[in-house]
């Protein structure tokens, strides 16, 4: 290998290091979460919403062919949701469009994430994992009302 090649390898390594640093810096400084691990129990298969206080909710969401339950959630702007997601049948997806929340609903496992909604509006939740012939109709809503 000659000097040009070595230079290019150093440059490549440097470039990738910069990418990695930018990624980690943003992940930690802005607290971008990947789904965390919670041990699975059958209790997660019961869909419900728990209101902790006015602006804090726990949502236990269950995906099934071909809807989410609860399918519509209404909360005031500024609320934070702890979302626990599982599936009662096959694998589903849970993508809150334009919100950067992206989870898989896997039977026998539970995905957990924390979401804060500062702006009022209707957020669409699209199932983005193929789950059978009704997959394209599987959409839920999160309605965020003005305070």
């Amino acid at each position: 290998m000659n000097k040009y090649e070595l230079r290019v390898m150093v440059l490549t390594g440097g470039l990738l290091s910069i990418f990695l640093f930018a990624l980690l810096y943003n992940t930690f400084s802005r607290k971008i979460d990947v789904p965390t691990c919670v041990p699975y129990t059958g209790a997660f298969k019961k869909p419900h919403i728990k209101k902790v206080d006015n602006l804090t909710y726990e949502v236990y969401s269950v995906a099934h062919m071909w809807a989410f339950e609860p399918n519509e959630i209404t909360i005031p702007a500024g609320s934070t949701i702890d979302l626990y997601l599982t599936s009662s049948d096959v694998v589903h997806g849970y993508n809150i469009v334009l919100k950067g929340i992206n989870l898989m609903a896997v039977p026998g496992g539970v995905s957990k994430t924390k979401i804060t909604f500062n702006d009022a509006g209707i957020y669409r939740v699209v199932c983005h994992e193929y789950c059978g012939s009704g997959h394209q109709y599987m959409m839920g809503k999160i309605i965020v009302t003005d305070k």
Binding site: C37, N95, V97, V106, G132
Partner: protein, 557 residues
């Protein structure tokens, strides 16, 4: 070199059969873009429903065509460089298993009993013959490799002073990785899914099957890619009119793939519950690592092309780019290679986005992902397959290539098509457009309450790209089949363009011995997957689920 009749038959069938199925794969690809753009609001067209077509598109294009090509290209490469044919029994049984497996898969998909897509995610159930067929196809490809290993040891005994040729090293790295990584999927299909599909077992650990699939699923993409890399290192410099800048760099790149390609599978599962954040971060770092051999390849191939351009009399810093042999009938391979490389720049960069585990939150399972991988698998991978299939078919059969001017246009048309298709998919993906979804029934249907007008422009762009790719394929099929059905006029032979090295390089012992790299590869797999496996069992439970795609009724009840 001359070629025996049986070897010739196996090579030609290995090109002809998947290319015939590829017609069906292409058709279903185009149809998807039409459904998605909301031009039709139907569940099926011509008896094939959207998801059945999507399954065919994925299985035929990404597993059948690519595996057959890797085997045939391996036969030609290994035999060309070692001047030997592998034992007849290995290549014949290998081809029989692969064809048998493929026919089982094709029958299941056409009947509609396999439409859980090419990832066959349980608890959606495919019929058992689909799982067995897929396993046979893979096991058949192993047998071909074992034949090459045998002639390699013979060759080494006869030529103790020679280095392993770069193309042979690349092929062996590719198939070693393939054997290692297809063990988990063979286990998944044969031990877990087949008995479950037949009703002998009823519970299934879904996160476990997903982990096993992706342990195979990511190395699979390198298995597609490495034949293209072999061609870029050992053929492209020659057809461009230059020399290979550094073959040691090529060796290092291949060996790095051997270590890094299998442990990165978890990066397909960043959005899933059962893996801890530490595992996800570790796999992000490994995936950045696997970008290094690709960057090295970009540099080495780029430098080789610059040398070729300068030899052709170019001036200035970028003049060499213009002087390359773009539209030459007698050198049609160059177009296929260069168009693949151009697409791969964007495919690679978008791959780094996917690998970054926080950015992946924006794009996971959206149209962005097929946008990315159509610039890899439908970029360099497919274009090298198409170009080299013409070259190998015509030299091994002794038939002269027909419609050469058509063959020259195909890659450029394809390049434009993929660029539009991927742009549409990626733009849509950033707006949340889901992949693998018959959008025309809901999200791109103005009469549906789910209608989303923002996804019309992106899906329409995708469709235009799909049409252009369809036209390119049609032209290609004319060339391929007209050649295949013409009369042989020349002596059949195995021959490949061979690039020379630009510099005389000192042999580096570590780059000539695959053993330490194979051991390192197994260590890396353990280091990543043992913790992953532990967390699968810690955080998940098996479920009593089994479903058919058409009905929300649990078959276990």
């Amino acid at each position: 070199m001359n070629i025996s009749k049986s070897y010739k038959t196996v090579i030609l069938i290995g090109l002809f059969m998947p290319m015939t199925l590829f017609i069906l794969g292409v058709y279903n690809g185009i149809m998807q873009t039409i459904y998605r753009a909301g031009v039709i609001h139907q569940t099926s067209v011509g008896g094939i429903n959207y998801y059945q077509g999507l399954t065919m598109h994925g299985v035929i294009n990404a597993i059948v065509l690519t595996t057959f090509f890797a085997v045939v290209f391996g036969h030609v490469t290994v035999s060309h460089y070692l001047k030997k044919e592998p034992p007849k029994l290995t290549y014949q049984i290998s081809m029989i298993l692969m064809i048998g497996g493929t026919l089982m898969d094709a029958a299941a998909m056409l009947r509609g009993t396999a439409q859980a897509l090419y990832t066959f995610y349980a608890p959606l159930k495919d019929s058992a013959d689909f799982y067995i067929g897929t396993a046979l196809l893979i096991i058949g490809s192993w047998l071909a490799f074992f034949g090459w290993v045998k002639i390699w040891f013979e060759w080494r005994k006869e030529n103790p002073d020679k280095k392993m040729p770069l193309a042979v090293l690349g092929t062996f790295v590719n198939f070693s990785m393939w054997v290692i990584s297809s063990i988990p999927v063979a286990y998944e299909t044969l031990v877990i899914l087949t008995p479950w599909s037949l009703g002998w077992t009823n519970t299934i650990n879904v996160p476990l099957t997903r982990m096993l699939f992706w342990m195979f699923g990511h190395p699979l993409v390198y298995f597609w890619l490495l034949p293209a890399y072999i061609a870029y290192y050992t053929i492209l410099p020659k057809v461009a009119g230059g020399k290979l800048y550094s073959s040691n760099a090529g060796r290092l790149a291949f060996l790095l793939f051997l270590i890094l390609s299998t442990p990165v599978g978890v990066h397909h599962q960043f959005s899933e519950p059962v893996f801890e954040a530490g595992t996800k971060l570790w796999v992000t770092i490994l995936t950045f690592g696997v970008a290094i051999p690709s960057f090295m390849t970009a540099f080495t191939v780029g430098a080789s092309l610059e040398y070729a351009g300068r030899k052709r009399g170019s001036r200035g810093l970028f003049g060499w780019m213009i002087k390359l042999p773009y539209f030459q009938q007698d050198n049609y391979l160059f177009g296929y290679f260069i168009c693949g490389l151009i697409l791969f720049i964007f495919g690679g960069v978008s791959g780094i986005v996917n690998a970054s585990y926080a950015l992946n939150q924006m794009v996971h399972n959206t149209g962005w992902v097929p946008g990315h991988f159509h610039m890899t698998v439908a970029g360099p991978v497919l274009l090298v397959i198409l170009g080299m299939s013409l070259y190998i078919y015509s030299s091994v059969s002794g038939k002269v290539l027909r419609f050469k001017s058509f063959a020259v246009i195909v890659p450029y048309l394809w390049l434009i098509g993929v660029a539009l298709l991927s742009h549409g998919l990626m733009a849509g993906g950033l707006m949340g457009e889901p992949r693998r979804t018959n959008l025309g029934l809901s999200y791109t249907n103005p009469d549906s309450p789910l209608f989303n007008k923002h996804w019309i422009i992106s899906t329409t762009t995708t469709m235009i790209g799909g049409f252009i790719m369809g036209v390119a394929s049609l032209i290609y099929f004319i060339v391929f089949f007209a050649t295949a059905f013409s009369k042989a006029t020349q002596v059949p032979q195995i021959i490949l363009p061979e690039s020379e090295d630009l510099h005389e390089e000192k042999p580096i012992a570590l780059l000539l011995n695959m053993k330490p790299w194979i051991i390192a590869s197994i260590v890396m797999v353990m280091f990543t997957y043992v913790p992953a496996l532990i967390s699968v069992f810690k955080y998940s439970k098996p479920v009593h689920n089994k479903y058919q795609t058409q009905s929300p009724e649990n078959m276990n009840k």
